[in-house]
């Protein structure tokens, strides 16, 4: 990690959507930072705000309805203060994003070669022939056989895994400093998922790119990331080094998530699910939004929303949780049996 500060630093980021039924607080005060070359996993259930956070950073949400507050600092500069010209070089050149569904992120009417050369011509100022060489080189790097001939194919002529490789090639073609991957493998088979993750990891290590990996799969994060951020109801609820967070989860929600995944190496008779359902962002419970599903909840959890606090041993890497309770000391209540989803 470099000493000259984080690449990306979110401070109290809020993204609320204006709707007829009142504001939806999708992102509600997120603090998160990514150092150069670091890989950070962002996990949480659907609706926890992980994608909206990153879309906000990229300034990809139309406003209105999206209303931003707080700061998203890119090397110390707030992206919300930028005009269109600055944003153009930020997106694609400095930060690139890979989306879950490669079919909807590629233009079906344009040949792969055209889509790949567009960005390098624009950002790197290469002429057509050089851009084409570079596009072929990028396709080779992501493992597409005979790339020169595949440049003239259309997206539908590629398989799902191949399209995701194209997306990665496109994202990396301008050598960004940060890659944001939003569920890059969720639509793929496990075997292809393993290949794609390996590819992202290898490319990242080779070029020193930072990575934000948004996923709901704890397994993917465990293998790929230096640090993990767990989100719930629009906020970060636990954050720490991957080993610390998986080995010693301290926020009840993280504990619940880890217990609800069937493991191959551990024999379990019954999974221990997190009871209840993710909250409606328009009707968040008072205080800690997880308290209604939390086996450790106390009276004070209904009063104030807990702020992030460091629970790491003195001198150790930060391990922060947003929870009033110290679960290493308190005992959980027995979960109600059945528990309707």
């Amino acid at each position: 990690m470099s000493s000259n500060g984080p690449l990306l630093d979110l401070r109290g980021l809020r993204t609320h959507f204006r709707t007829d039924r009142g504001p939806v607080r999708s992102v509600d005060g997120v603090d998160l930072s990514v150092a150069p070359g670091e890989s950070v996993g962002v996990v949480g259930e659907s609706g926890s705000g992980k994608s909206v956070t990153m879309l906000s950073v990229m300034r990809l949400l139309p406003s209105p309805p999206a209303m931003h507050q707080g700061q998203a600092l890119w090397k110390g500069e707030d992206v919300f203060g930028w005009g269109a010209r600055r944003l153009r070089s930020f997106r694609g050149r400095e930060v690139a994003m890979i989306f879950q569904d490669p079919m909807t992120s590629l233009n079906p009417y344009l040949k792969i070669g055209v889509q790949l050369t567009e960005a390098v011509q624009l950002h790197l100022g290469l002429d057509h022939a050089k851009a084409r060489d570079r596009a072929a080189e990028m396709l080779r790097r992501v493992g597409i056989p005979v790339p020169e001939s595949r440049l003239d194919d259309y997206p539908h002529q590629y398989s799902g895994g191949m399209r995701q490789r194209v997306m990665i090639a496109m994202a990396l073609s301008c050598e960004p400093q940060l890659l944001i991957a939003d569920e890059p493998t969720t639509a793929l088979d496990v075997t292809i998922q393993a290949q794609i993750l390996e590819l992202i990891d290898a490319q990242r290590r080779a070029s020193g790119t930072g990575l934000v990996l948004i996923t709901h799969s704890l397994g993917v994060v465990a293998g790929m990331c230096d640090r993990v951020v767990v989100m719930y109801a629009g906020r970060v609820v636990e954050e720490g080094r991957t080993e610390d967070l998986f080995g010693d989860p301290r926020m009840p929600y993280t504990v619940g998530l880890l217990r609800s995944v069937p493991r191959l190496d551990v024999v379990t008779e019954r999974l221990v699910p997190v009871p209840g359902t993710p909250p409606d962002p328009q009707r968040l419970p008072s205080g800690c939004p997880f308290r209604v599903r939390c086996p450790w909840a106390e009276a004070r959890c209904a009063e104030t929303r807990p702020e992030l606090r460091d629970v790491a041993a003195p001198g150790a890497a930060p391990h922060r949780i947003a929870c009033h309770v110290d679960i290493t000391k308190a005992a959980p209540r027995e979960p109600a049996s059945g528990g309707a989803a």
């Binding site: 088979d189 496990v190 075997t191 991957t242 190496d265």
Partner: protein, 357 residues
């Protein structure tokens, strides 16, 4: 298939291996590819190409494999949702499943139900929970009056963990994904079936909700004793819920074994690769030591010889030879696999063969 050493921890209620509920032999389902003015059949996609298996009473048989391997087609074909099948036979509780029609088929369908992957598109948005869950009860004449139906639906809702009073008159859009899947389950168990095909039933759900639904399915099986055909691509989920697991590759079962056995001693190279690709929730676990190269070949024009050979790390020249039968080996009681190189596995006993390509 039982026998073998008892596992250290009994985590699933044992299946009744003396009673076979469903017996499928050499099932084939080919989809024609038509071209030209007269829609001439030019080729076939052999989605299922000779699949044989049994399901016992109270047993969960898992089906895993990559997309396009034919696992969903197996499930749909035995529910007679893809008539006609191309070949093979299937008997359900002794009755010829593929030959019956009319009233007999309707009676059979009472006993075989399906739970779909997508809880959003598999429930009619214009029907209330009461009519979704209760429809089949009326159609099959199990309830006579509206009052009777309501009582029965309320019982079912209670069983799947929904509120029988508050939820019964609501519409699907008023529920979350997990709750909708519970409605789908209530509908599936309404007729007290003997077999439920769970087609990616938990794949679309968030992890915390997934665990709730898996537990519900296990609990219902213990109470009602039905069998599940559990189709999923999430291998850890399949391992957790299934008594036995079948691994499919390009329309064939390449390995089938009791769940613990398969995950501890995978013997087909494809199974080994598939298992090594699962990301584990353990930061210290090694990542993909046996990573599988390449993708599933085009099913219209699959490779000759062993269909897995282009991706197999053990493949030899003889694996590519055309039209040779693929031997089937028994590795342990209930543990069978099909591989040309099977004799290299200690203790493997040749018990048959699959036709070659």
């Amino acid at each position: 298939m039982s026998g073998g050493a008892a596992p250290a921890v009994v985590r699933r209620k044992a299946a009744d291996t003396s009673r076979v509920v469903l017996s499928v032999k050499d099932l084939k389902k080919w989809f024609p590819i038509r071209k030209g003015l007269f829609s001439k059949v030019v080729a076939h996609v052999k989605a299922v190409d000779g699949v044989t298996f049994d399901i016992h009473a109270g047993e969960t048989l898992g089906f895993v494999g990559e997309s396009g391997c034919g696992k969903t087609t197996v499930g749909r074909a035995i529910l007679r949702l893809l008539d006609p099948v191309t070949g093979g036979s299937a008997s359900f509780q002794g009755q010829d499943l593929l030959a019956v029609g009319g009233d007999e088929l309707r009676q059979l369908r009472r006993k075989m139900q399906i739970i779909f992957q997508d809880p959003y598109s598999s429930l009619n948005p214009r029907m209330t929970v009461e009519s979704i869950v209760g429809e089949a009860l009326t159609v099959h004449g199990i309830v006579r009056t509206t009052k009777e139906r309501r009582e029965r639906v309320q019982e079912l809702l209670k069983k799947v963990g929904l509120d029988p009073v508050r939820h019964i008159a609501r519409y699907p859009h008023e529920f979350s994904g997990g709750q909708r899947q519970r409605i789908g389950i209530a509908r599936a168990i309404a007729l007290e079936p003997d077999l439920i095909v769970c087609d990616e039933a938990v794949s679309a759900l968030d992890v915390s909700i997934q665990a709730q639904i898996i537990n519900l399915l296990q609990q219902l099986q213990e109470e009602m004793g039905m069998s599940y055909l559990f189709i999923a691509h999430g291998l850890n989920v399949v391992e957790h819920i299934s008594h036995r697991v079948a691994v499919m590759y390009l329309g064939r079962i390449v390995e089938i074994a009791p769940s613990d056995r398969l995950y501890d001693h995978p013997s087909h190279p494809y199974t080994q690769a598939l298992l090594s690709a699962i990301p584990e929730t353990d930061p210290d676990a090694p990542m993909n030591p046996e990573q599988l190269q390449g993708e599933v070949p085009n099913p219209i024009n699959p490779p000759a010889g062993c269909r897995f050979h282009p991706r197999c790390r053990f493949a030899e020249a003889r694996c590519k030879a055309k039209d040779q039968p693929i031997p089937v080996w028994r590795i342990a009681p209930g543990h069978e696999m099909a591989c040309i190189l099977g004799e290299k596995i200690p203790g493997a006993e040749r018990i048959g063969e699959q036709p070659g390509f």
